[in-house]
C-alpha cells in the first residue's frame, strides 16, 4: 500500500525516544511504571500516580478501538493536497489505559465510527521509521 500521508519523521523529546526505538523494530510499546504498574502516554519522566521514575516498555495488543477522530479537508501544504481528505484517529488501548494519535489507512471518512475495532499495521515515513497505523476493515 502506498504511504497514507507524507509527514515529517518523528522528532521526539528525550522521554519519547524509546517509544520510537521500539517502533523501528515494528513493536508498539507503551511506558509502564515499574512501581505501580500503570501505563502512561505520552512518555514522561515520572509516574503521575506514584512519582516513581522507574519504568519498562510493555507491548500493546494488536487490537484497539477508535476513541475519536477527525477528517482533514484542508491541506496545510502543497505536498498534502493530493492526500486530503485524510483522517486522524485517536486510538484507545483499553487494557493499558492509553491512547495513541494515528491514522486509519483503509477506510473512507464515512466509514469511521467511534468505538469501532481497529488493528495495528506499520508504514514507513520519510526517514524509514515505521509509523504505527491502523486498519479498520475486519478489525
Amino acid at each position: 500500500m502506498s504511504r497514507y500521508l507524507p509527514t515529517p519523521p518523528p522528532n521526539p523529546p528525550m522521554e519519547a525516544v524509546p517509544f520510537w526505538d521500539w517502533c523501528r523494530k515494528r513493536e508498539l510499546r507503551f511506558q509502564q511504571c515499574s512501581n505501580c504498574g500503570r501505563c502512561r502516554h505520552h512518555p514522561a519522566p515520572y509516574c503521575r500516580f506514584c512519582t516513581s521514575d522507574q519504568c519498562q516498555w510493555v507491548p500493546a495488543p494488536e487490537e484497539a478501538e477508535l476513541f475519536s477522530y477527525t477528517v482533514i479537508h484542508n491541506a496545510v501544504s502543497e505536498a498534502l493536497k493530493a492526500y486530503v481528505p485524510y483522517n486522524i484517529a485517536v486510538v484507545a488501548f483499553p487494557s493499558l489505559g492509553v491512547r495513541l494519535i494515528s491514522n486509519v489507512i483503509d477506510l473512507e471518512p464515512s466509514e469511521l465510527r467511534i468505538g469501532m475495532p481497529l488493528r495495528l499495521t506499520w508504514q514507513e515515513c520519510d526517514d524509514g521509521t515505521p509509523l504505527p497505523l491502523f486498519l479498520g476493515k475486519n478489525g
Binding site: H41, S68, T70, H73, V76, Y83, I88, S102
Partner: protein, 389 residues
C-alpha cells in the same frame, strides 16, 4: 462577597483601547509593535491617565511586542512589572488579566496595560500549520498540523456522546454574525449568515465546518488595570475584576495539543470544569447571576462545552440550550459574544472579548444587555468575572 473583593487594593479595569480590526493581512505599513502601542495609548487616553503612569505590562501567547521594546516605544519611565502567561495559544488570555490584577493588588505596579497585538499578514499565521512547541512529538507524524486538527477530535467525541446536531451548533456562528451586524468594528458586519449557508459550508476538520472556526485577523487591543482606590479617583467608569484565573484539569497536558490521553470527562468538557467553580466561589456568585458572557469562540463546539462547564446548563445539554434561543441578544437568558466574538468581530485571541465585556458593564455595547452588572469571560484555560462598580 469576601473582604478581598471589597478592599481598596482590589483590581479594576479603567481603560480600553482598540486599533481597527481587519482580516489577516489587512494591515500593511504598520508593525505589530506599532499596533500594540496604538492600543495601549488609546486605552490610557480612555482611562484618563498619562502614559508615564503605566508601570506594568502583561500579555500572553508569546506576544512578540516584548516589554523592553514597548517601554522604549511608549517612553515608560518606570516599568516595574512585565508578565507573560505561558502558552502558545490564546488560552492564557484571561491569565494575563489575572497577572495584571495580582500586580496591582500586591503593589508590584500601579497601572498595568494588558495587550495583545497581531499582524498575521506580516508573519506566521496563528491558525495555520506548524509544529507545536513543547509537544510530546506525537502530532506531526500523523498529519496533525494545525489547531483545528488538534481540537476537532475533542469536539467529535463530545458531539457523538451527547447527540449534538449541526443545527444546534450552528447557533454559535449565527448568533455571532447577527451581533456583528450591529457592531461597526466587526470585520463581518455586512456579511449576514443563515442556517442553510452554514450547513452547506465546507468541512475543514470534521466536525468543524468553515463557520465553526474563528477568523484570522490583524489588530490589537489593550486594557488598563489599576486598584479600586486609584480607579475611583479617575473620571471614567470603574469595572471590577471580581475573579480571574487560569488552569485546566491536569489532563490538558495530554489534551488537544498533547497526546489526547486526558480522561473522557475532561476531554469533552472544554477546559472550564474546575476553573469555573473556583472563580464563582471567589466572586461569590452563581451562574444565575451572570448577565452576559463572552466565550472564547475559536471553535464553536468549545463554546457549547464551556456553557456546560460554566454551569449555564447540564453536561450534554448545551445543544438544546442554544437551540432554545438562550444565547441570543434578543430574548436570550444569557446573551453571549455580543460584539460578534472571534467568529464575526475579530480574533484578537480573547482580549477583544474582554474589551466587549467592559463595554457591556459600561452600558456601551452595540448589543447592550439591559442593566448588565456581571459578565463572564471564559476560554479553555483561563477566565474572569467582571462586575459593574
Amino acid at each position: 462577597m469576601g473582604d478581598t473583593v471589597n478592599a481598596k487594593s482590589h483590581a479594576c479595569i479603567v481603560g480600553i483601547g482598540e486599533t481597527e480590526y481587519t482580516r489577516r493581512g489587512g494591515i500593511q505599513g504598520k508593525s505589530e509593535l506599532a499596533l500594540a502601542c496604538e492600543a495601549v495609548i488609546k486605552a490610557a487616553q480612555d482611562a484618563g491617565i498619562s502614559l508615564e503612569e503605566i508601570d506594568g505590562l502583561a500579555s500572553y501567547a508569546n506576544d512578540e511586542s516584548v516589554p523592553w521594546l514597548m517601554q522604549e516605544a511608549l517612553g515608560l519611565p518606570d516599568l516595574r512589572s512585565a508578565t507573560m502567561a505561558w502558552g502558545g495559544g490564546g488560552g492564557g488570555c484571561y491569565a494575563s488579566i489575572a497577572q495584571a490584577a495580582a500586580a496591582v493588588e500586591s503593589g508590584a505596579a500601579d497601572y498595568v496595560a494588558v495587550f495583545r497585538s497581531l499582524c498575521q499578514g506580516q508573519r506566521k499565521r496563528f491558525g495555520q500549520g506548524y509544529a507545536v512547541p513543547h509537544s510530546p512529538g506525537f502530532l506531526d507524524p500523523f498529519g496533525m498540523f494545525a489547531p483545528p486538527f488538534m481540537l476537532a477530535p475533542l469536539a467529535q467525541r463530545y458531539k457523538h456522546d451527547f447527540g449534538i446536531r449541526e443545527e444546534q451548533v450552528a447557533e454559535i456562528a449565527l448568533n455571532a454574525r447577527e451581533n456583528a451586524a450591529r457592531n461597526p468594528r466587526a470585520v463581518f458586519k455586512d456579511r449576514p449568515l443563515d442556517l442553510e449557508t452554514y450547513l452547506n459550508s465546507r468541512m475543514v476538520a470534521d466536525p468543524f465546518r468553515l463557520y465553526d472556526c474563528c477568523q484570522e485577523n490583524d489588530g490589537a487591543c489593550a486594557l488598563i488595570i489599576t486598584t479600586r482606590e486609584r480607579a475611583r479617583d479617575l473620571d471614567g467608569p470603574v469595572i471590577r475584576i471580581l475573579a480571574s484565573g487560569q488552569g485546566s484539569e491536569p489532563g490538558w497536558g495530554s489534551g488537544g495539543l498533547g497526546s489526547h490521553n486526558m480522561p473522557l470527562e475532561d476531554y469533552r468538557a472544554g477546559g472550564g470544569s474546575s476553573l469555573s467553580k473556583r472563580l464563582y466561589a471567589k466572586a461569590g456568585i452563581t451562574p444565575d447571576d451572570v448577565d452576559t458572557a463572552q466565550f472564547y469562540d475559536h471553535f464553536s463546539y468549545f463554546v457549547l462545552m464551556n456553557l456546560e462547564s460554566y454551569g449555564f446548563c447540564g453536561r450534554g445539554e448545551a445543544g438544546d440550550f442554544v437551540a432554545e434561543g438562550n444565547i441570543r441578544w434578543k430574548g436570550g437568558k444569557l446573551p453571549i459574544n455580543t460584539s460578534g466574538g472571534h467568529m464575526s468581530e475579530a480574533y484578537i485571541h480573547g482580549l477583544n472579548l474582554a474589551v466587549e465585556g467592559v463595554r457591556q458593564l459600561r452600558g456601551t455595547s452595540t448589543s447592550q444587555v439591559t442593566d448588565a452588572g456581571l459578565c463572564l469571560l471564559a476560554n479553555t484555560a483561563s477566565a474572569a468575572i467582571l462586575g459593574r462598580e
